[in-house]
Amino acid sequence: MDKSPRPCRAVLLASIALLFAPPVLGQPVPEIAPPAAVVARDNPNDAGHGVRIEWQPSPTPGILAYEVYRLSWRPEGAGPPLSPADAPDSLWIPVATVPAGSTSYVHEDDERTLGDGPNPEFVPRGSPVHYRVRTLGAGGAQSEFSPVVQAVAKGDWFHWMRVNVLVVFLALTAAMVFFIRRSSGGHRLFIRPIPGLAHIDEAVGRATEMGRPILFIPGTGTAGDIASLAAFTILSRVARRTAEYQTPVLVPVNDPVMMVMAQGTVKEGYLEAGRPDLYRPEDVFYISAMQFPYVAAVNGLMLRRQTATNFYMGVFHAESLLLAEAGAATGAIQISGTDQVAQIPFFVAATDYTLIGEELYAASAYLSQDPKQVGPLKAQDLMKAAIIAIAVLGLLELTFLGSDHLRGLIKAYD
């Protein structure tokens, strides 16, 4: 992993160090040595716009920072190629100041233009880029520049630092296949009771008895959110039940794509229940893409229509409590579920049942009891057990051996 400080942070650190350096007015500036053995090479695991510069520390004690310069980039056709030997100092531009103690820096820049002109710091793919480094000392002392080094950045076809992610993904997929086969073979897999899902039918029945509509809010996320897709699973079940019980279900949405998906889900639910005649497309409607106008409209809907049952499933943000408290004020039975950790306490406080995090994703397996759905749930449990085991092993390693190799092994990289 690259441990080079970010340029702005490095500049800040170096500036602070220079600020506290002793005054040197009237004193000779001491000579300091440049960093030794400077090399530049392609930065691995990137798109081909990064170069890694490494050096040995300057032998001079008490130095403050290193300054990395590169020869300006000039687009093809903008003039003769620049030779590092002949280039005037004005064409060498500083790209980073890194604090003493650092021995490397990764220079990345994939922007070809800066304003109206070419970006002189751009790192082209496949063309040589030249660098030189010097040392900065107290009182504005500067070393000579190191010899010029060059590197050619290239794009990589595999991100080797993500092998651990690939291993986990493949292990999870293998575990899913194993448990699906096991479950399909007649082996019964246990799923613990989830109250929020177990009470869906009861909640729909209550609305039917009271003769009032049901409100289903599929969150304020987009169709690309997993929680939104999981919400549609529950909406599908609710729609089927409402069709059977002949109770209207209102689905206000805040995204046009979500509206189309919700309409399809509800329509399919009515079809499966054998009551397509009861489906009313206008009951699934778009309100606003903005958070609070959406809340205002939905809260008004709850109060005017006196919905008997409210479902809040999907991605929620600050609107969670505004919606749930308004629903509680109407006396509706409320079932919520979200994967947004910050909103879970609000739902727990304000609704009758809450699906916490992953329980929302478990809805399809829980409701259908289909072996193909239950198998992946068990694979997920297995992975969770593996994570707990690794955490315990890491704890033991750190406690008794004082090392953290396991942490390095499982660390996620950008």
Partner: protein, 208 residues
């Protein structure tokens, strides 16, 4: 076939995006950007459908429910005014346009008002949640009481003791629970996504 084609599309595009995560090359990045642009384009294309739905629902409500007519008319008027203001951007010369002025002076304060209701809703939700009906609820009440004490000035050494206890509550049991939920959500999301990719999970298309 009606189902198979979408499932094939989901599998192919999904696997392409999985592969893209492991390939840092510029072509891979281009694919990612291209896919993201497609999402934006689809969102924009779907917007007229949403607006049509809003208008149809509002007009229908205005017709069928006289008591709610005023709200429906306000919605339609607001929509038309904002569309007109957006079409004629040069109506206002200076720092702002008519559209921005309406947004800043009507919508933003209205949103702030609604958001401020959260303070009162927090109090009412907390009142219900903190009733000590069971042992666990009593424990929650006690913990919340200790944490909330941190927000008021206490004399020493009470303030220091309270700060230590609150820090422990937030960093140990609270953080442990939070991380457990986050790990569960992460694994659940990967499993759910894999189910979608493999065509096991189809309920988002309607039905099981």
């Amino acid at each position: 076939m009606k189902r198979r084609i979408p499932l094939i599309l989901v599998f192919v595009t999904g696997m392409a995006m999985v592969a893209q995560f492991f390939v840092p090359h510029e072509y891979s990045d281009y694919l990612f950007q291209y896919a993201n642009d497609f999402v934006i384009v689809i969102g924009i294309l779907a917007l007229p459908v949403g607006i049509y739905s809003l208008m149809v629902a509002t007009v229908r409500k205005a017709r069928s429910e006289p008591r709610e007519r005023i709200y429906s008319l306000a919605t339609i008027a607001g929509f038309l005014v904002m569309v007109a203001a957006g079409l004629k951007r040069e109506w206002f010369h200076g720092d702002t346009t008519l559209s921005a002025m309406l947004f800043d002076n009507i919508l933003v304060p209205a949103q702030a008002t609604l958001f401020s209701l959260l303070a009162f809703y927090l109090a009412s939700a907390a009142y219900r949640a903190f009733r000590a009906r069971t042992l666990l609820a009593a424990l929650l009440l006690l913990t919340a009481f200790i944490v909330m004490l941190r927000m008021i000035p206490l004399p020493e050494p009470l303030a220091s003791w309270n700060a230590t206890v609150v820090r422990w509550i937030l960093e140990v049991p609270n953080m442990a629970a939070k991380r457990a939920i986050i790990i569960g959500v992460g694994l659940g999301a990967v499993t759910y996504s894999t189910k979608i990719l493999l065509g096991i999970e189809r309920s988002y298309m309607g039905g099981d």
